[in-house]
Symmetry: C2
Subunit: 376 residues, 2 copies
């Protein structure tokens, strides 16, 4: 019996062929390809194929994969009707978790876990998640739904359904790169959740639903909302230095900095930083970008020696803001992207499964009597 | 860095004051009290109080806890209406997972995780789960809903809502004991799932939704359905011996036997066995009970030396059958009970939290180039 590994830090809980992280050096690779290369050259669809097949697709394979994905964009009509009756005050992450779970009710064989079925169901959820998010957002804004357009790629189709107009080329590309960067990241909590759930030989819907619930936590995907809150709290560029120094003095947590895994700058933050700058310029958000740069400068000067650097959330927040996304859609964007990774891990876990069943250390009494209620 | 602990077997992942298991000796205690004592003397409501507070309640505390639980039995009217429009072909575990998730949409502060809020939301889900299950089952049978009755205890109220008539005293007590026996069981997969999810400081609804998804797997809560399938496959008492011997010879898995934790007879199976016999007699199901006894006899003779004994699923299956529950409601019953344990673990995890973030061993390539699509 081992010692108590609180938070399972340092425990190897799975083998994977999908992503590799060297936190000391600030390296992230998908199937050996550095994340920066994929951000520069790939698309979200190709990246998902890479993660699910451990190789880049040939042109004909990518075409078939993309066609299959696009043919599944639309959600069942009955489910679309149900979205129109949801409480408009509901939070999008709770809605997304509920609706991904509900997709299982419209699948006539939701429990099939053979390799082909697991891929089929994964593709189904991945293809439909954008409509689930966009339809609910339009419902709460009192707008009609914009149907998916199978002539558009994943990123462009989502932004079209959300906003009712096609995004600019820069926005679509920026959004696509965000999707690539967030797709997989080792055994993060939500990915681990998906593997733990599927290890009971449960089903793809159960695993992905659980993962969405994990991601919404502020110690995980919920962190990018916190970055935007902080940026909004700082009135202008001159206010950055006193604001951050005050936080450091009071030992407050500073959102978007530090990561249990990285002791160098998060390589995804590098990839996003350039994008964020271009978008900020395109969309008239230079002030926001300048504040971000100044925060990073102060933080690096003060805490860089302790290995506290910007993480991916720090730049994804400004990117999503510039694309025009509302704050409470930031984490759902992370979920839409990470579905690619979660599904890949579910497929991988099923291919060589062992039930996750750790042990608890019991620290209570033993051999206690059942005392009758009058005698307590 | 540790070795790869596949399935996390032997790894201590949490401390708990709730339940203690000695698998070699076949012991299960809740806060030190042997499970058999609780099955004999306690109620489900009292057992949940015990697990959430690490002590038995005084009479006035139990009264207040029960009153609070009963006052929350009814689900929001809008949600009840939505249940009436669900596909009648949907499987109850997928429905329960979806509806527990959906409860968050009717909570105006679903993310509150302070100790009082976590207990409040846990009580809310526990109180409402029976209506979620009963309403959907009546919907698919084309029957009107039977509203909860706050004058009834948890077990009796559920059976009344499901069947439209009050259960006999024996049935209500039998069902209540099943609820007690299934409430907590160390770091089983679904409980671990709930703790992993809440460790991101997500929310009670996310954690419990994920746990339901885990439980439905055939390697976990789904196993009790398999027992009933097996019993239905065996035509009569004489057929038991050749059926079981054939399975052993072919090395088929025999449902309801063996457990990763227990190498002796599952103490919950002991507690259920007497109950199953009484119920079988009361409900004219002696044949079924006799077949069960014969299966246990053959299995113990052939495989007892290897530590393969009946587990809790073996007798819960016949018990639920005698109560008149349809096969696909067996696992939802397990979930209704285990919600008490899951919630207790969520409360415990929040009181001393550390994010679960294990490591994956990467076994793929490194430094791979991004090859242009025409060159693959």
């Amino acid at each position: 019996m081992s010692d108590y590994a609180k938070g399972l830090e340092g425990i190897i809980a799975a083998e994977t062929e999908m992503s590799f992280i060297d936190g000391q050096k600030g390296v992230l690779e998908y199937v050996g390809i550095p994340i920066g290369e994929l951000g520069k050259n790939s698309t979200f669809e190709e990246t998902v194929f890479l993660l699910w097949n451990q190789r880049l697709p040939k042109a004909s394979e990518l075409e078939a994969f993309t066609k299959d994905l696009r043919s599944r964009y639309e959600i069942p009509g009955a489910l679309a009707e149900r979205i129109k009756a949801l409480p408009t005050t509901a939070q999008p992450m709770h809605v997304l978790r509920t609706l991904i779970s509900e997709l299982a009710l419209y699948d006539n064989d939701p429990n099939a876990n053979d390799p082909d079925s697991a891929r089929d169901k994964s593709l189904n959820v991945l293809a439909k998640a954008p409509a689930l998010v966009a339809y609910f957002d339009r419902h709460r804004r009192g707008l009609d739904f914009v149907k998916p357009d199978a002539s558009l790629g994943f990123a462009e189709n989502f932004l079209n359904m959300l906003n009712g107009e096609k995004p600019t080329e820069t926005m679509a590309r920026a959004f696509d790169i965000c999707m690539i960067l967030h797709t997989d990241h080792g055994l993060n909590n939500s990915t681990f959740t998906a593997r733990v759930i599927i290890s009971t030989l449960s089903d793809v819907y159960s695993a992905l639903t659980g993962a969405v619930g994990s991601l919404r936590g502020p110690l995980h995907g919920g962190a990018n909302e916190g970055v935007m809150h902080m940026l909004n709290e700082i009135p202008d560029l001159d206010a950055v230095e006193p604001f951050i120094m005050g936080k450091i003095e009071r030992k407050d947590k500073i959102m978007g900095f530090g990561h249990r895994v990285y002791k160098a700058k998060d390589p995804r933050a590098f990839a996003l930083q350039g994008l964020a700058k271009q978008l900020a310029t395109d969309t008239g958000n230079q002030d926001l970008f300048n504040k971000s740069m100044k925060i990073e400068e102060v933080m690096t000067r003060e805490l860089g020696a302790k290995g506290i650097y910007p993480n991916v959330d720090f730049y994804s927040a400004t990117t999503y803001h510039c694309i025009g996304l509302k704050l409470d859609l930031f984490t759902p964007m992370f979920a839409m992207s990470r579905l690619g990774g979660w599904s890949g891990h579910v497929i991988e876990q099923l291919s060589n499964n062992r039930l996750f069943r750790p042990t608890a250390k019991y620290v209570g009494p033993h051999d206690a009597p059942y005392v009758a209620i009058g005698d307590r």
